[in-house]
Amino acid sequence: MSLVSLSNVSVRYGRLTAVRGVTFTLAEGEILFITGPNGAGKSSLLRAIAGVTPPAGGRIDFADHDITGRAPEDIARLGLSMVPEGRDVFGSLTIEENLMVGTGMHARERSWKARAANELEAVYATFPILKERRHTQAGLLSGGQQQMLVIGRALMTNPRLVAIDEPSLGLAPNITDQVYERLITLRAERRLTLLIVEQSSTRAMMVGGRMMLMRGGEILLDGDARALGQSEAMQAAYFGYGEH
Amino acid sequence: MKRLTAILAATTCLSGAAFADDERIVVGFATAETGFMQAYDKPAQDAAMIRIAEINAAGGLLGKQIEVVNADTKTDRAEGAKAGLSVIDQGADMVVVSCDYDFGAPAALAAESSGLISFFLCAESIKAGIQGVGPNSFSASVLAAVQGATMAEWAYNKKEARTFYRLLDTWTEYNKGICDGFDWMMPQLADATLVGEDTFLNEDASIAAQITRIKSLPEEPDAIMLCTMMPGAVSAIKQLRAAGINSMILNGSGVDGSYWLSAVPDLSNFFVPVQGSIYGDDPNPDVTAFNAKFKEVTGGDPSTQYTYPGYVMIDVWAKAVERAGTTETSAVVAELEKMNGEPTLFGPRTFTSELHHQNQARYLIVETNAGKPGVVDEWTISAPIPVADLMK
């Protein structure tokens, strides 16, 4: 059964069309990489799914709900956790506060405080550095630590789907390795569904899973990451048109 | 009530337009019917209407009934010019303009350029007249400077005040006028000293810094000349008293009225010059009678002495028209300028070819004691303030 399903989704900014009629589904527990050159519409697609930019057309379903045009907070409450590009930490809040912001959505449920505390410990267990600096203002963290923080923060709400926009952007390769290692572990532990946007396909090929290639707001290829990554079609689609 | 007047006004001008111009005597009110100035123009205009009604009841002016046309300035200068033109187009022989010089001037200038007499309802700047608008412009009130001078001389003579402090709100020309009169009087009072001075702005949320300066004087001054107006005046007075300053406070007429006294409970040692008393204790019983009539017509007592100039205005203008035998501008102006100590209900009035305003006037002194205002004295400054000094 599919967790996410998009049909004919397009996104526009004024006269500019960023995403043109994209259709795909994503099953529970799957890991999907969306790759493509700069300006392919990957981030716009993600923002549409998260409800930040309502789609100009088409329909998006998530966890058996039609979420087309719904507010981001409603979508988040259905279990979609978004990690946008550029590591949007709340700079003036401490690490622990950053992690706690998202737990408010469960405040109506019984014993949410205890659960939140558990989640917090789990995130700290995954990223010990965060625990060490728990009372530090998030703005003072290094890039890698901020990336860990936003991923940890996304996990705090106990989501079904985590959508991450360019987790490796601006990070040193060894740190990117660490981040991915953690993501893979977490996915195994929690049966998480992952939707990861990356500019290059190298990561996808290393990690494995499903991969799609976007260009010009459309999905050109869709298939197994490793198989696709080595195919000529991929080379052609990505490098053939190339970025200038 | 207001709507009723508006309807009346509308019908008056419609019916009026049918008559030929020289058949009628028309007074045009280019005053604020809405906005900030409305609260100040309305009472004086009501008083003017009372005098018009009296004259009409007594057979009219030059045998004709006085008609009235209105236009709203909306408390806006550009609208003021339009309102002035509007009443002139409706055949006004005399244009009454807003109480405040700044807001009345555009309409007065319109009247002036059409060769008509304009009267400020209660402006107290020398510019509300020849010096500002032109030779056909008058004001019905008394110069602000006279108020400051009156208070200084009276306090010196009757209250033995020797040390004075001058606190000026630089917001308006009126405020500065009061202090100018005070400044003119001070050197004439032997051994009176100005121990300090300061300024503030009407809208200042707090005048704590100014009060601190007063409090740091070696001795509390005998009197504080407070040159300000509403709404900031109440705030300043309240803060002065709250800080424990008990000097006598001398004011201009702008703070007359009991409507605000509840804001400063048990206010004492507080003095205001007025042209007539709204408190029912005027030495002239006719003033009290007027107050009763005002209440009968408008449903409320006069709330400040600024009601009175409106009555004076119609009074002196009608007399001049009667004497000139015409409403023609130059003849009426000439008659007005002949008035020297012309008695009115609210003290004598003098106009000259140099000054269309009062630079000396009899003032009643109202003292507020334990929150109760009442007339305690009467004072006329010993010499008129020279026009040259007023123009500084």
Binding site: - | K2, R3, A6, I7, A10, T11, L14, E33, T34, G35, Q38, A71, D72, K74, R77, A78, G80, A81, K82, A83, L85, S86, I88, D89, Y101, D102, A105, P106, L109, A110, S113, S125, K127, Q131, G132, V133, T170, W171, T172, E173, K176, M391
Partner: protein, 349 residues
């Protein structure tokens, strides 16, 4: 400078707007009512102010709260240069001798007012144009407050808060019409000039424009000076329309009226600037007539006093609710029925 093709393509906008203004003037002339005539003069003055504001705000995207300060500067230039020397000596004794003796016609005063305002726009702008966004807005506001504070207290030169009277009153509508049309053409010419294009490019894509070598502060400064000059000339004409100036006239009230008209019309559009004035002024006038009372059959229907302002505020909110980018958005009247476009939008060539 602008290419001939662009001239041809966009010239319709100022022509249509001028035609609109002429139509208003003709109505005033035919009506023959002096108060109505004055109302139309007022509208033309607002057009000058709002178009002046547009020249800077519309092109740069920086909201300025300070432009009315330039109108103040211009208004006092009119007072300094057109009042009879004798009267000046009384109300503003601190003026230098040569200025005291000067007595020039009103149109020269408008030019001088524009020049004086432009000079100070250059001085202030040199400092302020380095700022952007809301910091720039607040800095322009501080400039307005500074000018107001100085003009409200400099007794010997500005007569402080007191109204300065004696400015010759010009009550015919034609000079104001001509001035408004000239200003519309200046604004249009600037908008399609190299500087105007660069400024709008910088407004829409700050990073890209900076990368392409556009010296944003300098281009902004040029717009600031031109719009300052327009405001100054408008201020001088305003002084001649009612015959007096006070610092109070040129402060928050006028600032917000003009800004509102611009925003309601469409901040990035010259047509919007003019239409904003015409629409809001007509609305105000209509409400005033209602307030004064309208004859319906035998009875007069009048709104209670004060409703006009409340209704105006409410209508403004409604217009903005349904057209957040203003009536015109970013487009211009071009006389074509098809899609309208900005004059010389970059990338359309």
């Amino acid at each position: 400078m602008a290419r001939p093709s662009m001239l041809r393509r966009t010239i319709a906008t100022p022509l249509i707007l001028s035609a609109l203004l002429v139509a208003f003037a003709l109505v005033a002339w035919l009506a023959g009512s002096r108060p109505f005539n004055q109302t139309v003069i007022d509208i033309f003055l607002q057009v000058i102010f709002v178009v002046g504001l547009y020249t800077f705000v519309g092109n740069s995207g920086v909201i300025s709260f300070g432009h009315i300060a330039f109108a103040c500067l211009g208004g006092y230039v009119a007072a300094w240069t057109t009042i009879k020397p004798m009267m000046k000596g009384v109300s503003m004794p601190g003026l230098p001798d040569w200025l005291m003796q000067l007595e020039i016609p009103f149109w020269a005063a408008a030019v001088a007012g524009g020049g004086f305002a432009a000079f100070w726009a250059l001085v202030f702008g040199a400092v302020l144009m380095r700022l952007s966004g809301i910091a720039a807005s607040i800095a322009t506001f501080a400039m307005l407050a500074m000018v107001n504070s100085i003009y409200s207290n400099w007794t010997s030169v500005t007569a402080a808060t007191s109204s300065v009277v004696g400015i010759p009153i010009v009550r015919t509508v034609w000079p104001y019409l001509i001035a408004a049309i000239i200003v519309v053409f200046i604004a249009w010419a600037f908008a399609i000039s190299r500087y105007g294009l660069a400024l709008r490019a910088a407004r829409d894509e700050p990073t890209a424009a900076a990368a392409s070598g556009v010296d944003i502060p300098r281009v902004r400064l040029i717009a600031f000076v031109i719009s300052g000059a327009i405001m100054g000339a408008g201020g001088a004409l305003y002084a001649h329309s009612i015959g007096l100036v006070t610092p109070d006239t040129f402060y928050l009230g006028l600032t917000f009226t003009t800004l509102s008209m611009l925003v309601v019309g469409g901040i990035g559009s010259l047509s919007g600037a003019v239409l904003g004035v015409l629409i809001l002024s007509s609305l105000i006038q209509g409400l005033r007539w209602l307030e004064a009372g309208v004859q319906v059959g035998a009875s007069t229907i009048a709104l209670p006093g004060g409703v006009q302002e409340i209704a105006l505020g409410a209508v403004m909110i409604l217009i903005l609710m349904f057209r957040p980018a203003g009536i015109m958005g970013n487009s211009e009247l071009t006389g074509r029925i098809a899609r309208t476009e900005k004059p010389g939008e970059p990338g359309e060539n």
